[in-house]
């Protein structure tokens, strides 16, 4: 964890609900925090460089954009191979997220997770087939879990609304 001073905490909290949609948004935020526009800009650049802000831009609601065939593909791969395989999966343009996660034996043996978000189930299945073939995962135990209903999509919140993370 990186130490964050109080002003940066306040800045992250104000930003959490979104950047104001006005011509000088950083000046407007500064006005709320008794910071100059230049100070806000310097602090935001630093927060981006240190990776505390992963990215700044628009966050889509993918379901509303028509992405309704959303699959979580999972594989059980040897622990000493998972890093290399994960890196290979991450290179495919249609893989939207890729993680190694803890297994939950005996209920859940899978340690490699990749999300493929698409508009049509057949295409998503073909793309996962491509992953299996091109990364050499077809022989590994694997499953594809499509989501069939979204029950909640909020931003993660920290510090009573301090931050939104992903």
């Amino acid at each position: 964890m990186i130490e964050i001073d109080d002003k940066n905490h306040q800045l992250l909290a104000v930003l959490a609900d979104g950047l104001p949609l006005v011509p000088r948004p950083y000046a407007e935020i500064g006005g709320q925090l008794a910071l100059s526009e230049a100070e806000v800009i310097a602090r935001l650049r630093h927060l981006l460089e240190t990776g505390i802000i992963r990215r700044l831009g628009l966050i889509v609601r993918h379901h509303e954009l028509g992405y309704r065939a959303n699959a979580m593909a999972v594989w059980d791969v040897p622990d000493d191979a998972v890093d290399a395989l994960g890196a290979e999966l991450a290179d495919f343009p249609f893989v939207t997220l890729c993680y190694r996660r803890r297994r939950q034996l005996p209920h859940w043996p899978y340690n490699l997770f990749a999300m493929v978000h698409g508009k049509a189930r057949a295409r998503v299945l073909a793309q996962i087939g491509q992953l299996n073939d091109q990364v050499g995962l077809r022989q590994r135990p694997h499953q594809v879990l499509f989501s069939n209903k979204r029950y909640k999509q909020d931003a993660a919140r920290f510090g009573g609304g301090l931050a939104k993370a992903g």
Binding site: M1, I2, L12, L15, A16, G18, L19, L21, P23, Y26, A27, E37, I41, L44, L48, T50, G51, I53, R54, R55, L56, G57, L58, I59, V60, R61, E64, L65, Y67, M72, D83, G86, A90, V95, T96, L97, C98, Y99, R100, R101, Q104, H107, W108, M115, L145, F146, N148, K149, R150, Y151, K152, Q153, D154, A156, F158, G159, L162, A163, A165, G166
Partner: protein, 150 residues
């Protein structure tokens, strides 16, 4: 579904990250898209209001802020699914919750301010629902792009 035109698509495709940090960032972004600042602001306001955008702003790094995120799953009997979804979503720490086609049929993301709170929260959900919660925390992040072409 709300409708988008070609300019909306260009905006969505161009601005999922890399937003300028300078005094007039919307003017700069608008220039690269080929529209005016006013038009960009109007369209962003509308896209947020129509629900196509969740927000225009930052995505934070939970762990670097001292928080914790995890993915958890439950096996919920079909006839209890709605009731259990309500119980689980009643916790403000539940960020996402999706039904998936598997015997582990409910998958949700937990986000807490402190790493130690994850286990407490899972114990609470188990007590409330009488169902086991399987916690599958991240061990390694290979890719978190999560960008969508409009």
């Amino acid at each position: 579904m709300a409708t988008m035109d070609e300019i909306d698509r260009r905006i969505i495709n161009a601005l999922q990250g890399g937003f300028p940090i300078c005094p007039a960032p919307y003017a700069k972004a608008a220039e690269t898209i080929g529209i005016s600042q006013d038009e960009l602001l109007q369209r962003l306001t509308r896209l947020c209001a129509d629900g196509l955008l969740s927000r225009f702003g930052p995505m934070y790094h939970a762990e670097k802020l001292g928080g914790a995120l995890t993915l958890a799953a439950m096996s919920v009997p079909e006839e209890r699914f709605e009731e259990v979804a309500e119980q689980v979503n009643g916790h403000r720490e539940v960020a996402h919750n999706y039904a998936r086609e598997h015997h582990l049929n409910m998958w949700f993301v937990l986000a807490t301010e402190q790493p130690s709170q994850i286990d407490e929260l899972i114990a609470e959900i188990e007590a409330e629902t009488g169902l086991a919660v399987f916690n599958m925390p991240k061990r390694e992040e290979f890719f978190i792009g999560l960008r969508f072409e409009a």
